[in-house]
Protein backbone atom coordinates (compact mmCIF):
# COMPACT_ATOMS: atom_id res chain seq x y z
CA UNK A 1 0.00 0.00 0.00
CA UNK A 2 1.22 3.47 -0.84
CA UNK A 3 0.42 6.62 1.06
CA UNK A 4 1.05 9.80 -0.87
CA UNK A 5 0.85 13.40 0.27
CA UNK A 6 -1.28 15.77 -1.79
CA UNK A 7 0.15 19.24 -1.38
CA UNK A 8 0.76 20.42 -4.92
CA UNK A 9 -0.02 19.90 -8.58
CA UNK A 10 3.03 17.64 -8.80
CA UNK A 11 1.50 15.42 -6.17
CA UNK A 12 -1.64 15.04 -8.26
CA UNK A 13 0.53 13.81 -11.11
CA UNK A 14 2.22 11.38 -8.74
CA UNK A 15 -1.15 10.03 -7.58
CA UNK A 16 -2.01 9.38 -11.23
CA UNK A 17 1.24 7.54 -11.79
CA UNK A 18 0.80 5.36 -8.73
CA UNK A 19 -2.80 4.65 -9.65
CA UNK A 20 -1.67 3.61 -13.10
CA UNK A 21 0.93 1.24 -11.65
CA UNK A 22 -1.61 -0.36 -9.34
CA UNK A 23 -4.17 -0.66 -12.14
CA UNK A 24 -1.63 -2.36 -14.40
CA UNK A 25 -0.70 -4.77 -11.58
CA UNK A 26 -4.36 -5.73 -11.25
CA UNK A 27 -4.80 -6.39 -14.91
CA UNK A 28 -7.50 -3.77 -15.39
CA UNK A 29 -8.50 -3.24 -19.03
CA UNK A 30 -7.27 -0.10 -20.76
CA UNK A 31 -10.63 1.64 -20.51
CA UNK A 32 -11.00 0.71 -16.85
CA UNK A 33 -7.45 1.91 -16.15
CA UNK A 34 -8.23 5.22 -17.80
CA UNK A 35 -11.43 5.59 -15.80
CA UNK A 36 -9.71 4.81 -12.52
CA UNK A 37 -6.77 7.13 -13.10
CA UNK A 38 -9.08 9.92 -14.22
CA UNK A 39 -11.24 9.46 -11.13
CA UNK A 40 -8.10 9.50 -8.98
CA UNK A 41 -7.01 12.71 -10.67
CA UNK A 42 -10.40 14.34 -10.02
CA UNK A 43 -10.45 13.31 -6.38
CA UNK A 44 -6.81 14.24 -5.78
CA UNK A 45 -7.53 17.65 -7.21
CA UNK A 46 -10.55 18.01 -4.97
CA UNK A 47 -8.41 17.15 -1.97
CA UNK A 48 -5.89 19.78 -3.02
CA UNK A 49 -8.22 22.58 -4.04
CA UNK A 50 -11.19 22.14 -1.71
CA UNK A 51 -9.60 20.21 1.12
CA UNK A 52 -6.53 22.35 1.53
CA UNK A 53 -4.27 19.38 0.89
CA UNK A 54 -4.32 15.86 2.28
CA UNK A 55 -3.26 12.31 1.52
CA UNK A 56 -4.04 9.48 -0.85
CA UNK A 57 -3.76 5.76 -0.09
CA UNK A 58 -3.49 3.39 -2.99
CA UNK A 59 -3.65 -0.38 -2.57
CA UNK A 60 -4.46 -3.53 -4.48
CA UNK A 61 -7.31 -5.50 -2.93
CA UNK A 62 -9.06 -8.84 -3.47
CA UNK A 63 -12.78 -9.40 -3.44
CA UNK A 64 -14.50 -12.39 -1.80
CA UNK A 65 -14.68 -14.00 -5.19
CA UNK A 66 -10.99 -13.67 -5.83
CA UNK A 67 -11.17 -10.71 -8.21
CA UNK A 68 -8.49 -8.13 -7.76
CA UNK A 69 -9.08 -4.42 -7.71
CA UNK A 70 -7.53 -1.07 -6.92
CA UNK A 71 -8.69 0.79 -3.84
CA UNK A 72 -7.84 4.45 -3.39
CA UNK A 73 -8.67 6.53 -0.34
CA UNK A 74 -8.45 10.31 -0.16
CA UNK A 75 -8.41 12.18 3.12
CA UNK A 76 -8.18 15.81 4.02
CA UNK A 77 -8.76 18.01 7.05
CA UNK A 78 -10.50 20.69 5.06
CA UNK A 79 -13.81 22.43 5.64
CA UNK A 80 -15.82 19.30 4.87
CA UNK A 81 -19.05 19.12 2.89
CA UNK A 82 -22.29 20.24 4.49
CA UNK A 83 -24.79 18.79 2.02
CA UNK A 84 -23.55 15.43 0.75
CA UNK A 85 -26.53 14.82 -1.52
CA UNK A 86 -26.06 18.14 -3.20
CA UNK A 87 -22.37 17.54 -3.63
CA UNK A 88 -23.09 14.33 -5.46
CA UNK A 89 -25.48 15.89 -7.97
CA UNK A 90 -24.13 16.98 -11.30
CA UNK A 91 -23.43 20.65 -11.64
CA UNK A 92 -22.80 21.32 -7.98
CA UNK A 93 -20.32 24.13 -7.68
CA UNK A 94 -18.18 25.26 -4.84
CA UNK A 95 -15.24 27.54 -5.23
CA UNK A 96 -14.07 28.10 -8.75
CA UNK A 97 -14.51 24.62 -10.09
CA UNK A 98 -17.13 23.22 -12.40
CA UNK A 99 -18.09 21.01 -9.53
CA UNK A 100 -18.36 17.83 -11.58
CA UNK A 101 -15.63 16.21 -9.54
CA UNK A 102 -17.53 13.97 -7.16
CA UNK A 103 -20.53 12.83 -9.17
CA UNK A 104 -18.39 12.29 -12.25
CA UNK A 105 -15.74 10.37 -10.36
CA UNK A 106 -18.43 8.17 -8.85
CA UNK A 107 -19.61 7.08 -12.30
CA UNK A 108 -16.10 6.06 -13.23
CA UNK A 109 -15.61 3.57 -10.41
CA UNK A 110 -17.38 0.47 -9.11
CA UNK A 111 -17.54 1.39 -5.44
CA UNK A 112 -17.66 4.88 -4.00
CA UNK A 113 -17.85 5.97 -0.39
CA UNK A 114 -17.96 9.57 0.78
CA UNK A 115 -17.73 10.60 4.41
CA UNK A 116 -17.63 14.26 5.18
CA UNK A 117 -18.83 16.69 7.79
CA UNK A 118 -18.37 20.41 8.12
CA UNK A 119 -15.30 20.96 10.25
CA UNK A 120 -14.33 17.31 10.18
CA UNK A 121 -12.65 17.04 6.79
CA UNK A 122 -13.52 14.74 3.92
CA UNK A 123 -12.83 11.08 3.21
CA UNK A 124 -13.46 9.45 -0.14
CA UNK A 125 -12.78 5.78 -0.88
CA UNK A 126 -13.17 4.30 -4.35
CA UNK A 127 -12.63 0.82 -5.74
CA UNK A 128 -12.35 -0.34 -9.35
CA UNK A 129 -12.50 -4.10 -9.90
CA UNK A 130 -10.94 -6.06 -12.71
CA UNK A 131 -13.37 -8.03 -14.86
Amino acid sequence: MDELPIRSGDDVVRVRQQARAAAADCGLSLVDQTKLITAASELARNTLVHGGGGTARIEVVKSDRGRSGVKIGFADDGPGIADLELALTDGWTSGNGLGLGLSGARRLVDEFELISEPGAGTNVVVIKWSR
Binding site: V31, D64, R65, G66, R67, R131
Partner: protein
Protein backbone atom coordinates in the same frame (compact mmCIF):
# COMPACT_ATOMS: atom_id res chain seq x y z
CA UNK B 1 -17.79 -19.49 12.29
CA UNK B 2 -17.58 -21.70 15.32
CA UNK B 3 -14.22 -21.34 16.99
CA UNK B 4 -12.63 -24.33 18.56
CA UNK B 5 -12.71 -23.00 22.07
CA UNK B 6 -10.92 -25.67 23.97
CA UNK B 7 -7.41 -25.81 25.30
CA UNK B 8 -8.02 -29.52 25.49
CA UNK B 9 -6.03 -32.51 24.52
CA UNK B 10 -7.60 -33.08 21.11
CA UNK B 11 -5.01 -31.10 19.14
CA UNK B 12 -2.08 -32.93 20.68
CA UNK B 13 -3.81 -36.27 20.20
CA UNK B 14 -4.52 -35.50 16.56
CA UNK B 15 -0.93 -34.47 16.06
CA UNK B 16 0.37 -37.67 17.62
CA UNK B 17 -1.82 -39.76 15.37
CA UNK B 18 -1.25 -37.58 12.33
CA UNK B 19 -0.43 -40.33 9.86
CA UNK B 20 -3.27 -42.56 10.92
CA UNK B 21 -5.91 -39.83 10.71
CA UNK B 22 -4.71 -38.27 7.47
CA UNK B 23 -4.31 -41.72 5.96
CA UNK B 24 -7.86 -42.67 6.85
CA UNK B 25 -9.19 -39.28 5.72
CA UNK B 26 -7.39 -39.67 2.41
CA UNK B 27 -8.88 -43.15 1.99
CA UNK B 28 -12.40 -41.78 2.46
CA UNK B 29 -11.84 -38.84 0.12
CA UNK B 30 -10.25 -41.01 -2.58
CA UNK B 31 -13.36 -43.19 -2.54
CA UNK B 32 -15.43 -40.06 -3.03
CA UNK B 33 -13.43 -38.62 -5.93
CA UNK B 34 -13.73 -41.89 -7.84
CA UNK B 35 -10.56 -41.60 -9.83
CA UNK B 36 -10.92 -37.97 -10.83
CA UNK B 37 -7.93 -36.97 -8.71
CA UNK B 38 -4.88 -39.14 -8.03
CA UNK B 39 -4.48 -40.54 -4.50
CA UNK B 40 -1.12 -38.76 -4.19
CA UNK B 41 -2.68 -35.41 -4.98
CA UNK B 42 -5.47 -36.04 -2.49
CA UNK B 43 -2.98 -36.97 0.20
CA UNK B 44 -1.00 -33.84 -0.52
CA UNK B 45 -4.09 -31.60 -0.32
CA UNK B 46 -5.25 -33.15 2.91
CA UNK B 47 -1.80 -32.94 4.54
CA UNK B 48 -1.89 -29.19 3.99
CA UNK B 49 -5.41 -28.85 5.33
CA UNK B 50 -4.69 -31.05 8.31
CA UNK B 51 -1.69 -29.03 9.45
CA UNK B 52 -3.64 -25.81 9.05
CA UNK B 53 -6.50 -27.34 11.01
CA UNK B 54 -4.19 -28.31 13.84
CA UNK B 55 -2.66 -24.86 13.89
CA UNK B 56 -6.10 -23.30 14.21
CA UNK B 57 -6.96 -25.66 17.04
CA UNK B 58 -3.80 -25.00 19.00
CA UNK B 59 -3.15 -21.34 18.26
CA UNK B 60 -6.73 -20.18 17.90
CA UNK B 61 -5.63 -17.03 16.13
CA UNK B 62 -7.29 -15.25 13.25
CA UNK B 63 -4.25 -15.52 11.05
CA UNK B 64 -4.23 -19.31 11.15
CA UNK B 65 -7.99 -19.37 10.57
CA UNK B 66 -7.56 -17.00 7.65
CA UNK B 67 -5.04 -19.31 6.05
CA UNK B 68 -7.28 -22.33 6.58
CA UNK B 69 -10.21 -20.52 4.98
CA UNK B 70 -8.09 -19.48 2.04
CA UNK B 71 -6.90 -23.05 1.57
CA UNK B 72 -10.48 -24.35 1.63
CA UNK B 73 -11.61 -21.67 -0.81
CA UNK B 74 -8.88 -22.72 -3.19
CA UNK B 75 -9.88 -26.37 -2.78
CA UNK B 76 -13.49 -25.52 -3.49
CA UNK B 77 -12.64 -23.52 -6.60
CA UNK B 78 -10.30 -26.15 -7.91
CA UNK B 79 -12.88 -28.91 -7.40
CA UNK B 80 -15.52 -26.76 -9.10
CA UNK B 81 -13.26 -26.25 -12.10
CA UNK B 82 -12.79 -30.01 -12.29
CA UNK B 83 -16.49 -30.66 -12.40
CA UNK B 84 -17.12 -31.83 -8.85
CA UNK B 85 -20.48 -31.05 -7.29
CA UNK B 86 -20.41 -28.86 -4.19
CA UNK B 87 -21.76 -31.75 -2.14
CA UNK B 88 -18.83 -33.92 -3.16
CA UNK B 89 -16.38 -31.30 -2.01
CA UNK B 90 -18.20 -30.67 1.24
CA UNK B 91 -18.48 -34.39 1.97
CA UNK B 92 -14.77 -34.69 1.43
CA UNK B 93 -14.22 -32.11 4.15
CA UNK B 94 -16.81 -33.71 6.45
CA UNK B 95 -15.14 -37.11 6.18
CA UNK B 96 -12.31 -35.92 8.42
CA UNK B 97 -14.86 -36.24 11.23
CA UNK B 98 -15.23 -39.94 10.45
CA UNK B 99 -11.49 -40.41 10.46
CA UNK B 100 -11.14 -38.63 13.80
CA UNK B 101 -14.14 -40.38 15.30
CA UNK B 102 -12.65 -43.76 14.50
CA UNK B 103 -9.59 -42.61 16.40
CA UNK B 104 -11.19 -41.13 19.53
CA UNK B 105 -14.35 -43.23 19.88
CA UNK B 106 -12.80 -45.21 22.73
CA UNK B 107 -11.01 -42.32 24.37
CA UNK B 108 -13.56 -41.02 26.87
CA UNK B 109 -11.76 -37.85 27.87
CA UNK B 110 -11.87 -36.62 24.28
CA UNK B 111 -15.57 -37.26 23.66
CA UNK B 112 -16.70 -33.81 24.78
CA UNK B 113 -14.00 -32.10 22.69
CA UNK B 114 -15.11 -34.12 19.71
CA UNK B 115 -18.39 -32.23 19.58
CA UNK B 116 -16.69 -28.86 19.33
CA UNK B 117 -14.32 -30.26 16.71
CA UNK B 118 -17.23 -31.67 14.76
CA UNK B 119 -19.03 -28.33 14.73
CA UNK B 120 -15.94 -26.57 13.46
CA UNK B 121 -15.56 -29.03 10.61
CA UNK B 122 -19.26 -28.59 9.75
CA UNK B 123 -18.68 -24.85 9.34
CA UNK B 124 -15.63 -25.44 7.19
CA UNK B 125 -17.48 -27.88 4.97
CA UNK B 126 -20.38 -25.49 4.53
CA UNK B 127 -17.95 -22.78 3.62
CA UNK B 128 -16.73 -24.80 0.65
CA UNK B 129 -20.32 -24.95 -0.51
CA UNK B 130 -20.61 -21.17 -0.44
CA UNK B 131 -17.34 -20.68 -2.23
CA UNK B 132 -18.53 -23.08 -4.92
CA UNK B 133 -21.66 -21.01 -5.54
CA UNK B 134 -19.66 -17.84 -5.77
CA UNK B 135 -17.24 -19.47 -8.21
CA UNK B 136 -20.11 -20.69 -10.43
CA UNK B 137 -21.59 -17.22 -10.50
CA UNK B 138 -18.28 -15.82 -11.62
CA UNK B 139 -18.10 -18.38 -14.44
CA UNK B 140 -21.59 -17.42 -15.58
CA UNK B 141 -20.66 -13.75 -15.49
CA UNK B 142 -17.55 -14.42 -17.56
CA UNK B 143 -19.53 -16.38 -20.13
CA UNK B 144 -22.01 -13.54 -20.43
CA UNK B 145 -19.14 -11.23 -21.27
CA UNK B 146 -17.94 -13.64 -23.96
CA UNK B 147 -21.40 -13.84 -25.47
CA UNK B 148 -21.57 -10.09 -25.46
CA UNK B 149 -18.32 -9.89 -27.40
CA UNK B 150 -19.60 -12.26 -30.05
CA UNK B 151 -22.83 -10.39 -30.60
CA UNK B 152 -21.37 -6.94 -31.17
CA UNK B 153 -19.79 -6.70 -34.61
CA UNK B 154 -18.72 -3.42 -36.16
CA UNK B 155 -18.82 -3.57 -39.95
CA UNK B 156 -17.33 -1.32 -42.56
CA UNK B 157 -20.00 -0.18 -45.00
CA UNK B 158 -17.78 2.01 -47.11
CA UNK B 159 -14.65 4.10 -46.94
CA UNK B 160 -15.08 6.20 -43.87
CA UNK B 161 -18.45 4.69 -42.92
CA UNK B 162 -18.90 1.98 -40.30
CA UNK B 163 -22.07 0.37 -39.01
CA UNK B 164 -23.05 -1.28 -35.75
CA UNK B 165 -26.13 -3.51 -36.00
CA UNK B 166 -27.35 -3.87 -32.44
CA UNK B 167 -29.33 -6.99 -31.61
CA UNK B 168 -30.79 -7.60 -28.20
CA UNK B 169 -31.16 -5.55 -25.08
CA UNK B 170 -28.92 -2.56 -24.63
CA UNK B 171 -27.75 -2.53 -21.03
CA UNK B 172 -24.77 -0.74 -19.61
CA UNK B 173 -22.38 -3.67 -20.06
CA UNK B 174 -23.40 -3.96 -23.69
CA UNK B 175 -23.16 -0.22 -24.24
CA UNK B 176 -19.69 -0.20 -22.79
CA UNK B 177 -18.60 -2.88 -25.24
CA UNK B 178 -20.32 -1.24 -28.21
CA UNK B 179 -18.69 2.07 -27.43
CA UNK B 180 -15.24 0.55 -27.13
CA UNK B 181 -15.48 -1.45 -30.33
CA UNK B 182 -17.08 1.33 -32.31
CA UNK B 183 -14.58 3.97 -31.21
CA UNK B 184 -11.59 1.73 -31.79
CA UNK B 185 -12.85 0.88 -35.27
CA UNK B 186 -13.44 4.55 -36.08
CA UNK B 187 -9.87 5.37 -35.10
CA UNK B 188 -8.24 2.37 -36.77
CA UNK B 189 -10.11 2.82 -40.06
CA UNK B 190 -10.04 6.61 -39.97
CA UNK B 191 -13.81 6.68 -40.44
CA UNK B 192 -15.80 9.77 -39.63
CA UNK B 193 -19.28 8.31 -40.05
CA UNK B 194 -20.96 5.68 -37.93
CA UNK B 195 -24.42 4.20 -38.35
CA UNK B 196 -26.03 2.58 -35.35
CA UNK B 197 -28.87 0.29 -36.37
CA UNK B 198 -31.27 -0.40 -33.51
CA UNK B 199 -33.80 -2.49 -35.46
CA UNK B 200 -32.85 -5.45 -33.30
CA UNK B 201 -33.24 -3.63 -30.00
CA UNK B 202 -36.62 -4.69 -28.56
CA UNK B 203 -37.35 -1.74 -26.29
CA UNK B 204 -36.03 1.77 -26.14
CA UNK B 205 -36.71 3.40 -22.80
CA UNK B 206 -34.99 6.29 -21.08
CA UNK B 207 -32.09 4.15 -19.98
CA UNK B 208 -31.45 2.75 -23.45
CA UNK B 209 -31.74 6.23 -24.92
CA UNK B 210 -29.10 7.42 -22.46
CA UNK B 211 -26.81 4.61 -23.49
CA UNK B 212 -27.24 5.54 -27.14
CA UNK B 213 -26.60 9.17 -26.31
CA UNK B 214 -23.38 8.27 -24.51
CA UNK B 215 -22.18 6.33 -27.52
CA UNK B 216 -22.98 9.17 -29.90
CA UNK B 217 -21.29 11.71 -27.64
CA UNK B 218 -18.17 9.62 -27.28
CA UNK B 219 -17.94 9.27 -31.07
CA UNK B 220 -18.44 13.00 -31.42
CA UNK B 221 -15.53 13.63 -29.06
CA UNK B 222 -13.35 11.68 -31.43
CA UNK B 223 -14.50 13.75 -34.35
CA UNK B 224 -16.95 11.28 -35.86
CA UNK B 225 -20.63 11.63 -36.61
CA UNK B 226 -23.28 9.06 -35.67
CA UNK B 227 -26.60 8.37 -37.32
CA UNK B 228 -29.15 6.19 -35.59
CA UNK B 229 -31.51 4.15 -37.72
CA UNK B 230 -33.94 1.29 -37.42
CA UNK B 231 -36.42 3.03 -35.15
CA UNK B 232 -39.60 1.01 -35.44
CA UNK B 233 -43.03 2.69 -35.27
CA UNK B 234 -43.83 1.44 -31.76
CA UNK B 235 -40.40 2.47 -30.56
CA UNK B 236 -40.89 5.93 -32.05
CA UNK B 237 -44.17 6.28 -30.16
CA UNK B 238 -42.55 5.17 -26.90
CA UNK B 239 -39.70 7.62 -27.34
CA UNK B 240 -42.05 10.54 -27.86
CA UNK B 241 -44.38 9.43 -25.07
CA UNK B 242 -41.48 9.23 -22.63
CA UNK B 243 -40.38 12.66 -23.70
CA UNK B 244 -36.92 11.45 -24.67
CA UNK B 245 -35.08 14.10 -26.60
CA UNK B 246 -32.60 12.91 -29.15
CA UNK B 247 -31.59 16.50 -29.62
CA UNK B 248 -29.38 17.03 -32.57
CA UNK B 249 -28.60 13.37 -33.12
CA UNK B 250 -29.48 12.36 -36.65
CA UNK B 251 -32.06 9.60 -36.84
CA UNK B 252 -33.29 7.79 -39.93
CA UNK B 253 -35.92 5.14 -40.42
CA UNK B 254 -33.92 2.56 -42.34
CA UNK B 255 -30.32 1.50 -42.77
CA UNK B 256 -30.57 2.50 -46.43
CA UNK B 257 -31.58 6.04 -45.48
CA UNK B 258 -28.78 6.20 -42.94
CA UNK B 259 -26.24 5.00 -45.48
CA UNK B 260 -27.39 7.59 -48.02
CA UNK B 261 -27.14 10.26 -45.34
CA UNK B 262 -23.68 9.13 -44.27
CA UNK B 263 -22.49 9.08 -47.87
CA UNK B 264 -23.67 12.65 -48.34
CA UNK B 265 -21.89 13.68 -45.15
CA UNK B 266 -18.75 12.04 -46.43
CA UNK B 267 -19.04 14.03 -49.63
CA UNK B 268 -19.82 10.97 -51.74
CA UNK B 269 -22.51 10.44 -54.31
CA UNK B 270 -23.93 7.26 -55.81
CA UNK B 271 -24.57 7.52 -59.56
CA UNK B 272 -25.79 5.01 -62.14
CA UNK B 273 -23.01 3.14 -63.91
Amino acid sequence: MEAYGGQGRMPAYLRDHHDKVVGRWAELVVTGVRGRISPDEVRHELEDLYSLLLRVMTQQDEHAMGELRAALDELSRSRARNGFTPSETALGVFSVKDAVYELVADVTELTSEYLAFSRMVDDLGLRTFETYSAAREQIIADQSVSMLELSTPVVRLWDGIVAVPLVGTLDSARTQLVMEKLLETLVSTGSEQAVIDITGVPTVDTEVAQHLLKTVNAARLLGAHCTICGIRPQVAQTIVALGIEFGDIATKATLADALAYALTNAGLKVVPA
